[in-house]
């Protein structure tokens, strides 16, 4: 099956930008695009493709030898982790490499992946609560600590849903989340419902830990993609600092009252 440079540009840019958006490593994004292009004969010489990806944008240039090169830039402004879709996109690019389907089939597959179900709000709120509760116990909290950690995690989920509507920076998101956690935890312990607030804060804060970002950072560094690695490392550090700033300011404020 033969496709034009323009069609190839369309599918590679949408697959690539989706991969970045859903939390794939950057080297995987570049690798997938090179493989897809190679499957259709764009692998070097006259017909070639160049890809440059960082977590914030994706640039693809295709040269088919006869016309002027085509370039598309995609700016990725928001990312949300969805490893299931990353997996399916991965399968799709493997399928493309083997079967070399026509563009209609690929587009249908892409829109199918985009519409894959995600877990509903009730399940996600519950997962926050479970994470808070179990980690509070894991770090040695009492059952009442764990209970409050779970409740606070649910509140954090709801608050962050509202805060995210204005699209704040990652730093601000983690500051807000952390302030909410720490202030409620301190309040609860002031009211005498639990003995200390340490384990509540630790447990509930685990929901804010940038796990995917850090893992991708390490894997991008290993793959030699230092620019992407630095980008995600900075992001992860900012989130960690934001968590510390938020909790510290809330605790400091309450200790003055």
């Amino acid at each position: 099956m033969d496709i034009t440079a323009n069609e190839l540009l369309q599918i590679t840019s949408s697959i690539g930008s989706m991969l970045i958006e859903y939390g794939a490593e950057i080297y995987r994004v570049e690798d997938s695009i090179y493989r897809i292009a190679a499957a259709y004969g764009f692998s070097g010489g006259e017909r070639k493709i160049e890809v440059f990806a960082i977590p914030a944008s994706l640039i693809i240039t295709i040269n088919d030898g006869s016309e002027a090169p085509l370039t598309q830039t995609v700016r990725i402004s928001s990312r949300e982790t969805n490893l299931d879709r990353v997996d399916k996109l991965n399968n799709l690019s493997r399928f493309i490499c083997v079967e070399k389907p026509d563009i209609k089939t690929i587009k249908r597959h892409i829109s199918e992946i985009r519409e894959r179900r995600i877990y509903g709000y009730p399940v996600r709120i519950l997962s926050y609560a479970v994470v808070g509760t179990t980690f509070s116990l894991f770090f040695g909290g009492t059952p009442s600590d764990a209970l409050f950690a779970g409740l606070i995690s649910m509140i954090v989920f709801v608050v962050s849903k509202f805060v995210n509507k204005v699209k704040p920076s990652v730093f601000f998101q983690s500051v807000i989340g952390s302030v909410v956690i720490a202030s409620i935890a301190v309040l609860v312990s002031r009211m005498g419902l639990t003995e200390s607030f340490d384990k509540i804060i630790i447990g509930a804060s685990m929901n804010l830990v940038p796990g995917v970002t850090l893992t991708n950072c390490m894997r991008d560094f290993i793959a030699g993609d230092f620019l992407a690695g630095m980008y995600t490392l900075t992001e992860a550090l900012l989130v960690a600092v934001g968590m510390a700033v938020g909790a510290a300011s809330a605790i400091a404020l309450f200790s003055m009252i």
């Binding site: 997996d87 991965n90 926050y128 894991f138 630790i202 796990g211 893992t215 560094f221």
Partner: protein
């Protein structure tokens, strides 16, 4: 007997439940969630094992992170899924939440001496985990390249 329950079994159960909950947050399908959760449990088990054998703390983190990376690479190869799906979940029990919290709390209280101690410890642990993952992933890449050239 009570020690075994509170020091080995309970943390493993907590890791399993928490990692499955994280699987929901990262939108992983149930089939993979369970396997990833078992990875997290194994991590916790290996970590406790090393800790009890008297290995230095940083080495405990290093070896557990290396072990979970091996598990993630193997599972990913077997089930044809991205490695980070298993890696992200499996590494969760190692996150040094307690140390990070203590770093912050000593900073608030203005105790510079214990702050620098806690800070160094958290950074050291994070570094050890990263090094564990680095070591295994780098080796795996090397193997893959060698295998490709051999064919």
């Amino acid at each position: 007997m009570e020690n075994i329950l509170s020091e080995i079994i309970l943390p493993c159960i907590y890791s399993l439940i928490a990692s499955i909950a994280f699987g929901v947050q990262f939108n992983i399908r149930f089939r993979h969630m369970l396997a990833a959760g078992i990875g997290a449990t194994l991590t916790q088990l290996i970590f406790t094992g090393f800790e009890m054998s008297g290995t230095g703390q940083m080495l405990c983190y290093f070896f557990s992170a290396a072990a979970v990376s091996v598990y993630a690479e193997l599972m990913a190869r077997r089930l044809h899924v991205p490695v980070n799906m298993y890696l992200v979940i499996g590494i969760i029990p190692l996150v040094p939440g307690g140390y990070m919290y203590n770093t912050m709390i000593t900073l608030v209280s203005g105790d510079v001496e214990s702050f620098s101690h806690q800070f160094a410890e958290s950074v050291g642990i994070a570094g050890s985990i990263a090094m564990g993952v680095f070591a295994v992933s780098a080796l795996m890449r090397l193997f893959r390249i060698i295998a490709k050239q051999a064919i």
